[in-house]
Each structure stands twice: as C-alpha cells, then as structure tokens.
C-alpha cells in the first residue's frame, strides 16, 4: 500500500465562493453587500461628522464639499447619518434573520422528520405566528414595552420564523423519503446523525438563499417601523427616520429623502442579486452548468 495521501475534497465554502465570483450577478451583489457591511462596520472612521451633533447655522444645506449629502433641519450631516443608519439596519437585520433562521431550522426539521403529532403541533404554532400582521403586532408590543431596537428585532423575528420553518419542513419532508436517507438508516445512523449530517447540508443551501433575499425586507420593515415612530428612537440615525425627516421636509430639501432611499434600494439590489446567484451555486448539481 502506497503512503501517498488521499486527495482532499475541496471545501464546500471554497467551492461556492469560487462559482459565486464567476457569476456577474453574484459579483455585483457581493460588491454591494461588502460595501454596505463594510461602511456599517467602519462607520466611526468613515463618517465625517458625529451623526447626532447639531449644527443649527448649517441647517438644510444641499450637497457640498463639506456635507456630501447636505444637512437636515437641525444641521446634522446626512452622509454621516446614512453611514450610521446602515449600522442600525444591519444591527436589526442580522440578529433578526439569524434568530428566525435558527429557530425555523430546528422547528422545521423536527416537524418534518419527527412524529406526526409533533408536526401538527409545530405547524399550528407556525400558523398562529403567521396570522399576526407584523405592523399590528409591532404596535401592540410597542404599546406594552415601548419602542426600541430590541422591540423591532423581537417582532420581526417572531413573525418571520414561520417563513423559514415552513420551507425547512417541506424540504425535510421530501428528503426524508429519499433513498440516501433510507441507506443511512440501513447503516444504523442515529436520528441525530441523519438530521445533522445528511438533512441539514441539503436544507441549508435553499435556506441561505431565502435569508439573503429576506435581509432587504427586514431592513425595509425596520425603516418602516422607524418611519412610523415605532422603531429606533431619535436621535439615533436610521434609514427609516431619515425618510421620516425627509418626508416632512420634502418641500425644503429633497436630499434627505433621497439619501434615506438610496441605501435601501442598494441593500435590496445587493442582497437580492447575491441571493439569486447563491441559488444557482448552492446546489452542487447546478454548479458550473453555465446558464439557467
């Protein structure tokens, strides 16, 4: 027997990144997402001004060298507020989506693979959660505990659990009958092993696509709730509160509403592109087939 080592299979992540970068859609999406995430992370160093520092003499200015996107009604630098607003947006979106995906994953797999009674119970739970209109639910929670970032995170997370849970459940149900799962049972694999090693990787791909596409929705929801005064409190900068300010001042200066809108649009485009490209890449069978 030779002592040459066996070739190592390329890692799944490496494979995905390799194909993602060769897809123009994926590349554009990745660049935009990196830009948004990067500027949010580096906000203290990128933003030229303190986003909440008032400067009344310079109020309601148009774009200039000093203020790239002008200033609002109390002289705060809009560009700095957009950058810091991105931080708030991601602070809401990432834990929300992360939490909802994690809970949806566990419940969905338990429902799909577990006994019938558990399935019925979990589906009932999903349907109950789903029946809450997000904004109404948010109003109720805000009335109870007051508006805050955590309220927004909690409300959006709770109402998006069923979306992920149901997708995972359906995928699990169809995979459960697949021959490779029966083959694993025949080898004596435990339920935990089947779920973790064989079901999870096949569920994770479609779920990542869904999550990437959902980030803009959550960012939009956060903006909407902040716009309605139920999200982050002033003076914390958020894209929603920028829109809110801009909306009331649209006759004085259009810059505010444009500055609040563009990052929302960019986020949507960036994550949607990324999601679309991921969809073609996460399924190993579709990889490198070139085209749809």
């Amino acid at each position: 027997m030779s002592d040459t080592s066996l070739p190592k299979p390329r890692s799944e992540m490496g494979e995905i990144l390799h194909h993602l970068l060769r897809d123009p859609l994926g590349l554009v999406g990745l660049v935009i997402v990196t830009l948004i995430v990067g500027s949010a992370l580096l906000a203290p160093w990128i933003a030229p001004y303190d986003p909440i520092a008032m400067n009344i003499p310079d109020r309601l200015q148009g774009p200039s060298a000093a203020h790239l996107l002008g200033t609002d009604q109390i002289g705060r630098d809009t560009f700095s507020r957009v950058i810091w607003g991105g931080r708030v947006a991601l602070q809401v979106a990432l834990p929300t989506i992360g939490g909802a995906v994690a809970i949806g994953l566990i419940l969905g797999m338990a429902a799909g693979y577990g006994p019938k009674w558990l399935d019925t119970l979990i589906v009932l739970f999903f349907d109950t959660l789903r029946s809450f209109p997000t904004v109404m639910f948010a109003l109720a929670v805000v009335a109870l505990v007051g508006p805050s970032l955590n309220t927004v995170i909690f409300v959006i997370m709770a109402t998006s659990i069923p979306t992920y849970g149901r997708v995972v459940r359906t995928l699990t149900l169809s995979l459960k009958e697949a021959e490779f799962i029966t083959a694993e049972r025949a080898l004596g694999a435990s339920t935990l092993r089947i779920m973790g090693v064989h079901l999870l990787p096949n569920v994770l791909g479609p779920l990542a696509v869904l999550a990437a596409m959902d980030i803009p929705t959550v960012v939009g929801l956060e903006a909407g709730l902040s716009f309605l005064g139920m999200g982050v409190r002033p003076p914390t900068p958020s894209w929603g509160s920028l829109l809110n300010d801009g909306y009331s001042l649209i006759r004085n200066t259009p810059w505010l509403i444009i500055a609040g809108g563009i990052p929302l649009i960019l986020t949507t485009i960036g994550f949607t592109f990324l999601g679309e490209a991921l969809r073609d890449v996460v399924d190993p069978k579709l990889r490198g087939k070139g085209g749809k």
């Binding site: 027997m1 040459t4 080592s5 066996l6 070739p7 190592k8 299979p9 390329r10 799944e12 697949a178 021959e179 490779f180 029966t182 083959a183 694993e184 049972r185 025949a186 080898l187 004596g188 694999a189 435990s190 092993r193 090693v197 064989h198 990787p201 096949n202 190993p284 069978k285």
Partner: protein
C-alpha cells in the same frame, strides 16, 4: 451447512388510509413468504414491479416492520428487535439500494461516504484514510475518487461506491436491491463479476432482488419467484430455470430474450396487468392471468408441492417428462 437467514411466513402489512369514497384498510405487500439463505450462498428474488420483492428485502434489513412471521438471523429473531439492538447487527446485515447515485448522500465526498460505516458503528479509531484506500481498491476505483462527490461520478462508479460502503465492515449478508438497474450491459457484467469475486473473498451471503433473469441465472444458487407478495416457485436455480413448474415462472422465462435460437421453450404470453394488491384474487392469486386456470384455481389456495430440489404452489404444474413441457 446451517441457514444464515431463515424467513418464515413473513407478512409486511401497510395501512391504507381511507379517502372520502373509500374505507381505510390494509394491504399485505408481502404475504407469507418463507425462504432461507445459507452462509456464503446467493439467493435471487425475482418478480415484476409491485410483487413485493423490495418490501421483503427492506423487512429483512429492518427498514420495514414485519407484521407476522419470523425473520431469524443466526437463530436470532429480527422481527420486533428494537433499533438500538438492531444497530449492532447492521454491521453484518447490509443493504444496497436501487438508485446508485440517489442512495449516496449528495453533500458527502466519496471518502466520507465509504468510511461512514466506521463512524456510525463507533470505530473512529481506525485509520480512515487507509480504510478508504483499501475499499476503493477493493471495488476497483482509483484513490483519486476519494475527493469526488456523488454528482461527479457515473452510475457504474456510484454503484461501486455503494458496494464499498456496504462491504466496509465485513458483513455476512448483503441484500442487493436491483444491483444492475440503470447500468449499461457491459457495466452490469463488471458489477456482477465484482459481486461474485467479493463473495468468494469475503464468504458473503447475498440476497439479490431483481427482475433480470439472466442475472439470477448466472449468479444465484437458489431462486424464489414472487407474484403479488407471495412466492409461487422456489428452489435451486438450475432446476427452476431448466424445469419451471409454475405457469408464472414459465411465462417469465418465455418473456426473457433467449440467445439460443434452437432452444425449445413453450411460449406463454400473459394478458393484462397483475391484479391490484388491494383486491387480491381468491384461490391461487395467479388464476386471473393464468392460461391454464381451471375452476378450482379461483377457489382453492394451492399449497407447496415439493418436486426434487424445487417447490411450487400450483394446482396444475407443468410436468417435464422426456424434456418436453406439457402443462396439466
């Protein structure tokens, strides 16, 4: 030699859920099958689609629950054995599935796939690299295949991976469900030679499920012909193939392409489809399609008739006086 596997009157029953216009009930996909497989021997189960052969195989592998009867493996009852205890036996009783690629977990590399039995059975101490190399060599695949994924290999190669995986732990009984399905004829041949070679080397008993009569004729020692969940004829392969008694066996053999143009075999053509298992015919379940059926065939259930090294269940078996077939 003692029997490795002894199956007695096994019934596998599935509940049928009632719809709006139909009542709930149950079907017997396998309805009272008895057979035994000796150590190191090959047993073939032949039948049409829906005859219950895969269900029988899965019942033996502990993937379906047998409602009645007994499945003795080395004298140990497998029916109703809790999964925790069955798990230890899964080293010795292994199964290969019909779809070569579909039965491999798609996100695992070939190396992970073929060394998985060691991990599942708690033998992590083994040098998995060395085991992978040994198994790949055993089934005739180059070591580079360790890094491939199921979607990167052909059906025949996937089948070899399936064999490597099944035989990783030196099993005693291999249940092979359609091991040649979906393969080119030349690859089918390679596959069968591989199985035969490994059987010699490892002293393996094989239960092979197939509808391919040529496969059965060439590699099995005994054969059972299944129809609607029951065995209709059973015995030494040579005897069953050279002197089939049951009209269904005759029809199967007649339908099989015969390479020798001078061979004289009576042609029997069966009309129609096999009846639904939901609505099992009375008497001999074959009487609805049997060209020789008489009145009593639809009322009396035939019992086993032993004829030399084979047995059959038929009221009017073919007789083979002077090498000439004359039914009834």
């Amino acid at each position: 030699m003692s029997a490795l596997l002894d199956i007695k009157d096994v019934v596998v029953r599935f509940a049928v859920r009632g719809g709006v216009f139909s009542s709930a009930g149950s079907i017997d996909a396998v309805s009272g099958v008895s057979l035994s497989i000796e150590e190191g021997k090959t047993y073939g189960i032949v039948g049409e689609s829906g005859s219950g052969k895969t269900t029988l195989a899965r019942a033996v592998a502990g993937l379906h629950h047998a409602s009645e009867g007994s499945i003795l493996y080395r004298g140990q009852e497998l029916r109703d054995l809790p999964e925790a205890q069955f798990r230890k036996l899964r080293r010795e009783i292994v199964m290969m599935f019909q779809d070569p690629i579909g039965s491999l977990s798609p996100r695992l590399s070939v190396k992970s796939l073929i060394t998985e039995p060691f991990r599942i059975q708690g033998m992590k101490g083994r040098d998995l690299d060395a085991e992978a190399r040994r198994l790949l060599a055993m089934v005739g695949l180059p070591p580079e295949f360790a890094a491939r994924y199921p979607y990167q290999i052909s059906g025949g190669q996937a089948r070899r991976v399936g064999v490597a995986r099944a035989l990783a732990l030196d099993p005693k009984l291999l249940i092979a469900d359609e091991p040649t399905a979906g393969l080119d004829v030349s690859i089918q041949g390679e596959m069968l030679n591989l199985l035969a070679r490994l059987q010699d080397e490892l002293g393996l008993a094989i239960m092979i499920i197939t509808h391919n009569l040529n496969v059965v004729r060439h590699i099995t020692d005994r054969v059972g012909i299944m129809y609607l969940g029951k065995l209709v004829e059973e015995g030494e392969t040579d005897t069953v193939f050279s002197a089939p008694r049951h009209p269904y066996t005759l029809a199967l053999l007649a339908a099989n392409p015969e390479p020798d143009p001078d061979a004289q075999l009576m042609r029997i053509e069966l009309q129609g489809e096999p009846p639904s298992i939901l609505n099992r015919p009375t008497g001999c379940e074959f009487h609805t399609r049997c060209p020789f059926a008489q009145a009593r065939c639809s009322t009396d259930v035939p019992s086993w008739q032993v004829a030399g090294p084979a047995a059959h269940r038929c009221h009017l078996p073919a007789s083979w006086e002077q090498d000439k077939v004359c039914p009834a």
